[in-house]
């Protein structure tokens, strides 16, 4: 067996043929490719990040008016705020809100183009300019304020926990040692780590992935905003939502930071004030958020 191995590997042959003191010099040659890569990566990456195109400083509001449509990032999977219904149409509170804004700024409530965002990429889609605004159950908090701008809040939700109907979990204290699913990129993920430090937290990229995991029995609870949970409960009656709300989550529209978006933000905030004052916002809330007391 040893002879077999020796024959296979020809080690003696290698060292007999080459001057043994110089054979190790061949090793760096094999690593040259390797080290070359590292050097090149750094060079390429630093080079790429230092080349930034000067963004056109044209005012976003005028761009929108010129284009004639508002591009809005909304959720496609969060009932009741943005979801695709059985008839393949996009519906929801956020969708109607954006249409209302379009009606009041551009004059036509169909002058909107909706792009799907998820909790993970809604901030990116703003900072990269893919969308003009984001209406996707976006909670206003100080960490996000460093990166994007918010409108005034248009809805106040709270973080809650959803469990199967027959579950023994009564509050967040029971979650220690259990499996909780969250959605990556949402505020719920950080909060649940503080509220239940001994729970195993699994993160998915979309709400439906997370909810499928809960539904399949892979997790004991799901935590996110209560409005989204209520939306799931409409279609899935054998789950329930726990009564406690652990945080206040004010939803706001998201805008990209910058001087060119200021006038657009002011226009949208003005519309929000208008529709709050004349009751349209309340109507929207009653339409989409039933069984829920607005706080």
């Amino acid at each position: 067996m040893v002879k077999f191995m020796k024959n296979i590997f020809n080690l003696e042959r290698v060292f007999k043929n080459e001057n043994s003191s110089f054979s190790f010099l061949t090793l760096p040659l094999r690593f040259t490719k390797f080290t070359l890569l590292f050097i090149l990566t750094f060079v390429v990456m630093i080079g790429l990040t230092s080349c930034k195109k000067e963004k056109t400083n044209q005012d976003l509001l005028s761009i929108v008016k010129q284009r004639g449509t508002i591009i809005a990032g909304v959720k496609f999977d969060s009932r009741p705020f943005g979801f695709i219904d059985a008839d393949q149409k996009l519906k929801g509170f956020d969708i109607d809100l954006v249409r209302e804004i379009a009606k009041r700024i551009l004059g036509d409530e169909n002058a909107v183009k909706f792009q799907q965002v998820t909790s993970s990429n809604r901030i990116f889609s703003l900072t990269t300019g893919s969308v003009d605004l984001v209406a996707a159950t976006l909670t206003i908090n100080s960490k996000r304020r460093q990166v994007i701008d918010f409108s005034s809040p248009y809805f106040i939700a709270g973080q809650a926990i959803m469990v199967p109907e027959k579950s023994a979990i009564k509050s967040v204290r029971n979650l220690n040692g259990k499996k909780v699913v969250v959605v990556l990129g949402s505020t719920s993920e950080k909060n649940i780590r503080e509220l239940a430090p001994k729970a195993t937290v699994e993160g998915f990229r979309t709400y439906t992935d997370a909810f499928s995991a809960l539904r399949a029995g892979r997790a004991d609870a799901l935590t996110t905003d209560d409005t989204i949970i209520t939306g799931f409960l409409i279609e899935n009656p054998n789950f329930k939502i726990l009564d406690e709300r652990y945080t206040k989550e004010p939803y706001g529209l998201g805008f990209r930071k910058g001087v060119d978006t200021q006038s657009f933000q002011q226009a949208v905030n003005a519309v929000l004030e208008e529709i709050e004052a004349d009751g349209t916002l309340d109507l929207l809330r009653k339409k989409w958020i039933h069984k829920y007391n607005n706080r």
Binding site: L36, K53, F76, N121, G129
Partner: protein, 227 residues
């Protein structure tokens, strides 16, 4: 078994399939162009060209495609263009660049596999550079590269499923949208797997036929199993 989901949503799935095929074909063409250039650089004896091509190819080939797609979509394209990158654009560019590295390696392998004897014989027959290229080198090289190229493109069609993770509504994602609503994952996933299987298997079948028609007798002896 809830196969009715597939019947009701068949047009939606087929739309997704169309996007998949579009993405695959654009990426194939793009990666062929870039891959040939890179492959020739890699094979050339000019040191700067060689080393740039080598470094680039090794860089691309050592990172997972999903990392590259997400990076291109969220970081690279917006930084370079300074403006939004649509799902299709960024997955297209990511797939093209990724596959071109592999195509370059295949082309280099093909060019390298031509024995010097053939080229010497061509030279001794008096053919000039372009005649050699057109009559001797390219036919030999292309017939040797073809199976590997087709296999790479089959792999590309399968990799378009990764574009679903950034949100492009191609075949996988359209199936996801359906089972997100109806929760009948098993049937829809099996159907999508079946569609991918049909596409990829027929392509590999075609490639095997191509291979058997174009190779010289000495190269395609019947590969009988060793009993």
């Amino acid at each position: 078994m809830f196969w009715s989901d597939i019947f009701y949503n068949f047009d939606f799935l087929m739309k997704g399939l169309l996007i998949t095929l579009e993405l695959a074909s654009v990426s194939i063409i793009g990666s062929l162009i870039i891959g040939v250039i890179l492959g020739v650089f890699r094979y050339s004896r000019l040191f700067p060209l060689n080393i740039i091509a080598t470094a680039f190819i090794e860089l691309i080939r050592s990172i997972p495609l999903i990392l590259f797609i997400v990076f291109v979509h969220f970081g690279l394209l917006p930084a370079i263009l300074g403006s939004p990158a649509s799902f299709f654009q960024s997955s297209c560019i990511a797939l093209t660049i990724f596959t071109s590295a592999y195509v370059a390696e295949i082309i280099r392998g093909g060019l390298k596999s031509i024995e010097m004897g053939n080229i010497d014989a061509a030279k001794s027959l008096g053919l000039n550079y372009f005649q050699r290229l057109a009559y001797i080198i390219l036919p030999l090289a292309i017939t040797r590269m073809m199976p590997a190229l087709v296999s790479q493109f089959i792999s590309l069609i399968k990799d378009t499923s990764l574009a679903s993770t950034i949100g492009l509504i191609e075949l996988t994602r359209s199936g996801e949208i359906i089972y997100e609503r109806t929760y009948h994952e098993l049937e829809i996933l099996l159907f999508i797997a079946f569609i991918y299987f049909i596409i990829c298997y027929s392509l590999s079948f075609l490639s095997r036929n191509l291979e058997s028609k174009s190779c010289y007798p000495i190269e395609c002896r019947e590969l009988t199993p060793i009993n």
